[in-house]
């Protein structure tokens, strides 16, 4: 009922390539919802359908109760969309870009100068407002795009990789800003490759891979489902090590990662670590490295797809 973004069997086919298989999402008012997935998973395609830039090939999507296919202008009025790639803005200054877009959102003329300052300030671009766009650095251009997406206080903020290309400082500022907007009542949909970003910001995530949702829920829920903790062992003989430890009572699950790593999901790493070491010694298996961690969203992805998100991302 309070769903702000709702999709049912949403589907997109490019020629004979199925980019989005069938997507069911339910994003509620006030959610900061993360679309997480490797390159080519279909995040941008999903977002472009929700922002009315791509016509769905099947299924339906509603934003703020309006159908993206039949009521696109109602949808456009309510969203602020920040694209994955920065938009080229030619010879204009930052302030001019923002003011022109403010007019395109039909803000009353007398409110425009103040509004422009407020959004520029929010992303830390006010000091650079009167410089030409062409003189901005990549991160500054991205922040300007972000400012433009906020102009009309959208009910729904749609961010495609908001921190791509930003330095640590700016990333933190942008995150802070997204959190503020969230507190301010906006619903945020963000697509990202960065697990830590999703983990920090989102109260819900959907992990998508090859055009379908693999799993969705809150980050902590998903991580709990992985198991309590993960011991990552690096060895030259992962198969022998697996056989040596898989029967142990404390092992919940073992998944082979790349480069001969084993991810051992256990209840309690403080017990498992010495045990793995002991079993390795007993079987004469050379252990190169051993670390343990709280499960991350990467582990969630690995658990559900058998592949590591970072590896998939780096490979394509």
């Amino acid at each position: 009922m309070s769903a702000v973004i709702e999709t049912l069997g949403l589907r997109k086919v490019f020629g004979d390539h199925v980019a989005i298989e069938s997507l069911d999402l339910n994003i509620e008012r006030g959610d900061v919802f993360g679309l997480l997935g490797p390159n080519g998973a279909g995040k941008t395609t999903t977002i472009r359908m929700l922002t009315t830039l791509l016509a769905p090939s099947g299924g339906a999507a509603r934003v703020c109760g309006f159908d993206v296919a039949t009521q696109p202008s109602e949808v456009r009025r309510r969203i602020g969309y920040v694209m994955q790639t920065v938009a080229y803005r030619g010879l204009l200054t930052g302030r001019e870009c923002v003011e022109i877009e403010a007019a395109l959102y039909h803000l009353p003329r007398r409110d425009i100068p103040l509004r422009a300052e407020v959004v520029l300030e929010a992303v830390g671009m006010l000091p650079h407002a009167d410089r030409r766009w062409t003189t901005y650095s990549g991160g500054m251009k991205k922040r300007l795009d972000l400012a433009c997406g906020l102009l009309h206080w959208p009910e729904v903020l749609v961010l495609d990789e908001p921190s791509l290309g930003l330095d640590v400082q700016s990333r933190h500022n942008v995150w802070g800003y997204i959190r503020d907007r969230h507190v301010g009542g906006a619903t945020v949909l963000l697509a990202t490759n960065y697990l830590d970003e999703a983990d920090r910001l989102c109260n819900k995530v959907a992990i998508i891979d090859r055009g379908s949702v693999v799993v969705q829920g809150s980050p902590s829920e998903l991580k709990r489902a992985v198991g309590a903790e993960v011991v990552q062992v690096s060895t030259g003989e992962p198969e022998r090590l697996r056989r040596a430890i898989e029967a142990e009572r404390w092992v919940k699950k073992i998944i082979a990662g790349e480069h001969g790593d084993l991810h051992v999901y256990v209840e309690d790493a403080s017990i498992a670590l010495p045990a793995v070491m002991r079993l390795g010694l007993e079987h004469g298996i050379n252990l190169k490295r051993m670390t343990y961690s709280q499960p991350s969203l990467d582990d969630v992805f690995l658990l559900h797809t058998g592949r590591e998100l970072r590896e998939v991302g780096a490979a394509s």
Partner: protein
């Protein structure tokens, strides 16, 4: 003031912009002016582009006047005022040239992705093309006034006076509507800017030579005259030439009416292409 305070203060701007009083025309005007402002700023910052595009038609006129006049038979063109005869041709030449260079920002927006940003905003689909039209008309009015001043210096007197000049500007604006819309449609239809320039280059010269820009209709071979008579450029040229050389005549009104029709048709075509070709975006 923080962003949240401002947000509190201006409650739900969305509802205000969206549902309150169907002032759709006011919103549309605001969009067109905002986009036109963007084109203006860019033009003003490209000094060389500005200087050359403003001066070019005047230079053409001088070139034709000084260079070609002697080679022309006054019998053929029906007047011994060759520069006056060429004035309409040069203005038309300029409009077509502006049509091509004027579609470039649209090609850019399409290729750099800014068009996507625009399309995600609640703007009418016609605003982009219409803003180009408004911008081009303003730009070419300056160009035409300059060309007329140069022609005046070379001894041309417009037969219909200042009011005639106003009607010439109106005629030019009507032709610009066709040309801008047609080249915008082409810009959106092509997959890449290379195709745009290939097609534009291919059609432009025939379009100009198959009009009465350089040769009066009566002096053309029959087949050429037939083509020229369905070419909208011819109507604009005939109207402007009559106003310069002959005075107020009924055929000016006929030409203007036909130009208006052609303009409306091209604008419809342009908007349709725009919707169809800007990705497979959702339609309005």
């Amino acid at each position: 003031m923080t962003i949240e305070e401002v947000a509190q203060e201006e409650r739900a701007p969305v509802d205000r912009a969206g549902t309150e009083g169907g002032d759709a025309r006011g919103r549309w005007a605001q969009e067109v002016m905002a986009l036109a402002r963007r084109w203006w700023i860019e033009l003003l910052r490209e000094r060389l582009n500005l200087v050359f595009s403003i001066l070019q038609p005047a230079i053409w006129l001088v070139f034709f006047g000084a260079g070609v006049e002697r080679a022309i038979d006054a019998e053929v063109i029906g007047t011994d005022d060759y520069i006056g005869f060429m004035l309409a041709g040069v203005v038309t030449f300029t409009i077509v040239g502006n049509g091509i260079s004027g579609a470039m920002p649209l090609l850019w927006d399409k290729e750099t992705g800014y068009l996507d940003r625009l399309m995600s905003m609640p703007i009418a689909r016609s605003s982009v093309i219409v803003s180009r039209f408004v911008f081009q008309v303003a730009q070419q009015t300056v160009q035409i006034l300059l060309v007329v001043v140069v022609a005046f210096a070379l001894g041309v007197r417009i037969a219909t006076g200042p009011l005639g000049l106003a009607v010439i500007l109106l005629t030019a604006a009507l032709l610009t509507m066709s040309v801008t819309a047609a080249f915008s449609a082409l810009a959106y239809a092509v997959p890449q800017h290379g195709t745009f320039f290939a097609v534009a280059g291919f059609v432009t010269l025939p379009l100009l030579f198959m009009s009465s820009a350089f040769v009066p209709l009566e002096a053309m071979p029959l087949w050429m005259e037939v083509v020229a008579r369905v070419n909208p450029l011819t109507y604009a040229i005939e109207a402007m030439r009559t106003l310069v050389l002959d005075g107020w005549e009924a055929r000016v009104a006929t030409s203007l009416a036909l130009l208006t029709l052609a303009g409306a048709a091209c604008l419809a075509l342009g908007t349709w292409q725009f919707r169809k070709q800007t990705g497979d975006r959702t339609q309005e």
